[in-house]
Symmetry: C2
Subunit: 360 residues, 2 copies
């Protein structure tokens, strides 16, 4: 895997990969699904010993199809020209599951790079790093921030592109997905749009980016600003992947740093239908939806005035499309701007509102 710049940018397109997702595909393989849905990799196989023998579309019909196999060796038997193994799952805590060691070892021995978003850095694993040195492969730990990050200067707004940030009512409501759907819809209309990744899946999809939740807190806004400055004059529109929520008991600082570091021209508020308490912190009820609009806008204003111009609702918990449309309409009503579920329906209505919003 080629390191193209100081920022650790990797080439993604035309690279053939296998995705490790043992015992978790597809429901608990969020990274694998995100990479398959939005990445430019050529996915030769998914590795999952539980569903081996099935095909990807048996489980997720709208993904590009690929076989599911039980090991890296089996993936290589199908496709001898593999470029990389991508770890597409994460146990709670982000540790390394020792049952994956044979697959990772086999990949490195076969000359394949390994792409990982685990908190446990493969490059710090003695066995893997020695072996990778011998075979000349790249162990890409996407959650490892680069070394020369610094404080924000408060100048992200100076780039040529209009900047759109996805913000959320909570963690895991679909901010990365919404950013990607809006990006895709904008590009379909011929708009020169770029993506600023802030989390592991976004970084894997893009081949570059700062994992902001792993950055020293003094430099978190700076890590976002750095990325916007890096590509902000190359595009007309930028979608910045948000993280967490401004009222999250643990992660609000990350959210606040992104909000002020990005100096966005427009915000898209993301929510998941049925969510009424903070994910994993059930004793904390979510505040009423309009309060989020006020909070994000009033907090952003002293650094860079902006407003919530569109909403995105994840309706995956709702069975029928009629009920889902009703939920989206209620959500739009509550936050006072157009909304959609860009995965279930399409991103066009939200994109219209975004384009109007940044044009104001």
């Amino acid at each position: 895997m080629t390191d193209d710049s100081d920022r650790g940018t990797r080439r993604i397109s035309d690279r053939t990969i296998a995705i490790l997702a043992h015992e978790k595909f597809p429901e608990r393989a969020k990274t694998a699904i995100g990479v398959m849905r939005y990445g430019d990799y050529d996915v030769a196989a998914v590795i999952d010993r539980d569903t081996a023998g099935d095909r990807v579309t048996d489980h997720v019909p709208d993904l590009e199809d690929a076989p599911i196999v039980d090991s890296f060796e089996a993936a290589r038997d199908l496709e001898s020209d593999l470029d990389a193994l991508l770890i597409g799952i994460a146990p709670i805590g982000g540790g390394f599951d020792e049952s994956w060691r044979p697959d990772v070892t086999a990949a490195i021995e076969a000359g394949c790079d390994v792409i990982s978003g685990l908190h446990y850095f493969l490059s710090a694993d003695e066995q893997f790093s020695v072996l990778a040195e011998e075979t000349g492969v790249d162990l890409w730990d996407v959650r490892k921030p680069h070394d020369d990050l610094t404080v924000s200067e408060g100048i992200a707004a100076e780039v040529g592109a209009d900047v759109v940030l996805t913000v959320g009512t909570d963690c895991s409501v679909g901010k990365m997905t919404v950013s990607q759907e809006l990006l895709g819809a904008a590009r379909e209309r011929g708009i020169d749009a770029g993506f600023v990744p802030t989390g592991q899946t976004g970084i894997m999809i893009s081949g570059w980016g700062n994992p902001v939740d792993r950055v020293i807190s003094d430099f978190t806004a700076g890590a976002v600003e750095e990325m916007i400055l890096e590509i902000g004059d190359e595009h007309d529109l930028l979608f910045v992947e948000g993280q967490g929520s401004i009222v999250h008991p643990a992660y609000s600082g990350v959210t606040c740093s992104i909000l002020h570091g990005a100096m966005a021209d427009a915000l898209v508020l993301c929510h998941a239908s049925g969510r009424d308490a903070v994910h994993g912190y059930e004793s904390f009820p979510l505040p009423p939806l309009p309060e989020y609009v006020d909070l994000y806008e009033s907090l952003a204003e002293p650094v860079h005035a902006t407003s919530v111009v569109a909403g995105a609702l994840n309706t995956s918990e709702i069975d029928g499309d009629v009920d889902a449309r009703e939920a989206v309409a209620e959500y739009s009503e509550a936050i006072g701007v157009p909304a959609t579920d860009p995965v279930r329906f399409d991103a066009d209505g939200a994109l219209d509102a975004v384009l109007e919003g940044v044009d104001r």
Copy 2:
């Protein structure tokens, strides 16, 4: 220096130290002054080659007096039983000034511990670490977070103590000082009060603490919570040292993490008279004072409802006491709660408001 616990707590009282402040005492030696004013160290000498020969009280009349000398060796000639050398200044960027190397080397050779709040870790300096190993001294880098930090659980409010957090309109308005003045005033009234340090000077004064601006952003709220859980049942009242400001272009994430991690029962809003733009970011005007009250309260509310109950104004830029009192009165009027300058006048009025506030 004894390491008393996993948290790296150090004994402070009855330790005799020299404070290095070359070319910066007193105006640009904020850490030295803070440690001398609020710490329990016995300060044998200040080391500053520019003011050597003077005495501390020639420059700062209200500090305990000590001689100023030009080197560690000279300090040791005056007091042979030195326990530690404390670095009381920081160049912009937090690097190590090589002109200090002879003093630090001499201290380690003499068996003295070295206490440093620099970004540059003395323990990572090859020469110092080898020498420290030989002489058995402790290189205490107070800005180095301990390794086992984790995410906040949102349970700081469960401790027995009432928690008071100092928040600010900007960086460098005196949050640490205000916390210490309130702590001292509470103890004078016989209240069992504790201090939760979040920055380098506070940590040096207290002998323990997490430097929250150096913590990985995901764990910043957790680092605050951990400290409150550690001492929150041993006291009736806790003063938590705030950092930054909620509208700071670079550091707002740290502030937000402390606000939500601390789950404070009352907030004290700190400001410096005459400050009308963000320190070091002059193109960002400070918002009107009442907006800070609304912002801090509305942002805190979904995690733990609290309110601004008192204000502290740093009036050091104002010459006369009459004008300073007027500025304090205007500040109190603007934020709608009692206020004072606890350094220039006293902390009693603010403490009364705090005690009433946590009692509600």
